[in-house]
Homo-oligomer: 205 residues x 4
Amino acid sequence: MISTSRPASRATRTLSKGGEPSSTDRMLSLIAAAMDKAGVMTETIRLVDFDIKPGVTSDEGDGDEWPGIRQKILDADILVFGSPIWMEQPDSISKRVLERMDAFFDETDDQGRMVSYGKVAAVAVVGNEDGAHHVSAELYQGLNDVGFTLAPNAVSYWVGEAMGSTNFVDLPKVPEAVQKAVDILARNTVHLAKLTKDNPFPGEK
Amino acid sequence: MISTSRPASRATRTLSKGGEPSSTDRMLSLIAAAMDKAGVMTETIRLVDFDIKPGVTSDEGDGDEWPGIRQKILDADILVFGSPIWMEQPDSISKRVLERMDAFFDETDDQGRMVSYGKVAAVAVVGNEDGAHHVSAELYQGLNDVGFTLAPNAVSYWVGEAMGSTNFVDLPKVPEAVQKAVDILARNTVHLAKLTKDNPFPGEK
Amino acid sequence: MISTSRPASRATRTLSKGGEPSSTDRMLSLIAAAMDKAGVMTETIRLVDFDIKPGVTSDEGDGDEWPGIRQKILDADILVFGSPIWMEQPDSISKRVLERMDAFFDETDDQGRMVSYGKVAAVAVVGNEDGAHHVSAELYQGLNDVGFTLAPNAVSYWVGEAMGSTNFVDLPKVPEAVQKAVDILARNTVHLAKLTKDNPFPGEK
Amino acid sequence: MISTSRPASRATRTLSKGGEPSSTDRMLSLIAAAMDKAGVMTETIRLVDFDIKPGVTSDEGDGDEWPGIRQKILDADILVFGSPIWMEQPDSISKRVLERMDAFFDETDDQGRMVSYGKVAAVAVVGNEDGAHHVSAELYQGLNDVGFTLAPNAVSYWVGEAMGSTNFVDLPKVPEAVQKAVDILARNTVHLAKLTKDNPFPGEK
C-alpha cells in the first residue's frame, strides 16, 4: 500500500474564481474518491490560488509560491495533474507548472535520478468540447520528460459534443464511461506507485 | 470568382470501404455544396482507393498513384483536406499525403516559390469523439509548411461526446453550428483563393 | 502598402528579465528589419513585462494589462507572435495570450466577422533544441481559430542540435537558412496583409 | 529478470529501402545493445517491409501482415517503438501501427485488462531537424491509450540544428548525451517491465 502518512498528492488546477464550482474539480474529486477506496489519501491544490512565477529554477524568490507546491508534489507518491482545456490545448497555468518542473532535470541524486523518479503521474482533463487527448499527450510528454512514470490509461477526461457549451460540473449524473475510466486510472496508478516506491529505479552507479 | 474551368479540388480521404457511407464524405459534401453556391466546382478524391507509396519524391514509380492526385491538387485553386480522427490524431493516409507533399519544398520556380504558392487550404475533420482541433493543428502546420495559405476559421469539424460512438454520417440532421462553420469556411476560403490567385505571392527577386 | 499610420504590430514575448538579451527578441528583430524594408512599421511588446490576468473576457479588471495589448493588436494589420520553446511546447505566457484572444469568438460585427478578421499572423519560435514546428502548429491552430489569416511559410524558427544548450542570441552569425525563412515570412505576410486589408472577408449576409 | 525465452521485442520502423542504412535503425541498435547488457533479447521488425493494411481489427485479411507483427509485440514484454520524423510529426507507417493497435481496446480479459497490460513501451525518434518531442508526445498518448506503461524518460532521440540535413546514421560518433539517454531508457524500461510482469495490474473485480 501507499503509505497514508506520506499521502499521494494532486496538483489540481482550475481557473474558477472564489467558490464557483469547477468541472476540473469534479473530475479530480471522482479520482480522489476512487483512490480513497484503495487507501490513498489525497490533497487538492488549486493552482489558480497561488502566485507561481515564471522561471527556470525551483525558487524564483520574490513571493514565488511554487516552492511550497513543489514540496507537496515531492512529498507524495502520486501526482494527478488536472487541466482544463483552453483552445483545445493545456491552459497557461498547467504550462507554467510544467515549466517550473523543468528544474527537475538538474535536481538529481548521486546516481543521476531526478527527484521525481519513482513517482507516478496521471492526468484529468475536462472541457466543453474537444481537445482532451491532445492535452493528455502534451502532459504525458512533459511529465515523462521530468521523470514521472505513467500507468496504462493514465487519463480521465470528459468533453461534450463539438461546439457545445455544456460543463462537466453541470451534468446531472457522471457518465458511466467516465466513472469506469476513473476507476481504471486509480487502480492502475495506485498499483504502479506501490511497485515503483518499493522498488526504486536503478541509478547509473 | 474562381474559374470553373480551373476548378477548386478537394483531396477527400476516408477509410470507408466500397460503398459504405463515410462521415468524412458527409462533411466534405457540405463544404462542396457551400462552395458550389459561390461558383466553385469541386472534385472529391477518395485517397483510400489509391495506392500512394511511401517516399520523398513526387513519383516513387512502381505503381505509385500519387502523381495523378498531385496533379489534381496543383490544377485546383483550393485544397480541402479531409481527415478522419484516429487515436485523436490524423490518420495514416492523411500523414502519407502530407509526406508526399514534402517534395514541394524542392519544387520551386525561379523566384523560389513552391508549386503550391497561392493555393488556399482548408480542412474537414470528423470523428466519434475528441481530437478535431489537434488534427487541424497538425494539418495546418504541414500544409502551411508546404506552401498553402489559410483563411480564418479554416476547419469544419464534428466530434461527439467523450467516449461516444456516434458517427457524423448517422446524425439525423446536420447541427446548426456545423453548417455555420461550413459556410464560414467556404466563404473565407473562396474569397482568399480569388485574391491570392489574382495577386501572386512575390518571389525572392 | 500597409499604412504606416496604422502600423503592423508584433506581440513579442520572452521570459528574459530586465535588460538581458533574448533569443526570441533577436528573431523578432530580424523579422522587423525585413518588414521595414517593405515599408511596414513594427512595435514590439515584451509580454513578460505585463500583468496579463487569466480569464475569458477582454478585460478582467483589477490591474489586468491585457486590454492595452489587445488594442495594439487590433490597431495593427499584422501580428507576429513570438514564443520561446519550453518543454518543446509553447510557453505559459504565449498560452495566456491565446486564452485571452479566445474572447474574439464573441466579438463579431453584424456580419459575424471577428475583430481579428483580415489580420495576418506569423510566428517566431526559438529554443535550444527541438520543438519549433510543434509550437508553430499550436499557434497556427489557436490564431486561425480566433480569426487570423496565415500566409504560406508563416514561421521563422531556430533550434540547435538535440540536447544542446546554445542560444540563438549567442550565435555569432545568423544562419543563412534562418535569414531566408525570415525574408520569405516577411514577403508573404506583408503581401497577404495588404490583400486582406484592401479586400475584407465577406460577412454572412 | 525478463525471460530471454520470452524476449522483449521492438517494432522498428523505417522508410529506408533495401539495404540502405537507416538512422532509426542506428538508434534502435543502441537501445538493443543497452538492453542486451541487462539480459534482454531483442528483435527488430522493419515495418516498411510489411504490408500492414488500414483497418480497425487485428486481422484485415487479404494479405494483411499485421497479425504476425501483433503477435510478436504480444509475445514480448517491452515494445521499443521507433519512428523517423516527417513534417515534424510521426510518419505514416507509425500512425498505421498505432491505428491497428486501436483494436486492443476490445481485446480484454475477463477482468477488463487489455492484451497489452503489463507491457512497457519506449520510443526512439530520429530526424534531420526538429520534432522529436512532439513525436514522442503523440506516441506516448497512443501507446498509453492502448494499454502500455511508460517508464520515466522513455524516449531516445536525435535531431540536428534547425533546417539542417545531417543524418544520425552519418554522425562519426554517437553524441555522449544520446548514449546517456539510451542508457537511462534501457535501465528504466527494463526495471519497470520486470516489475509489471511479476506484479500484474489488477482487474476490475
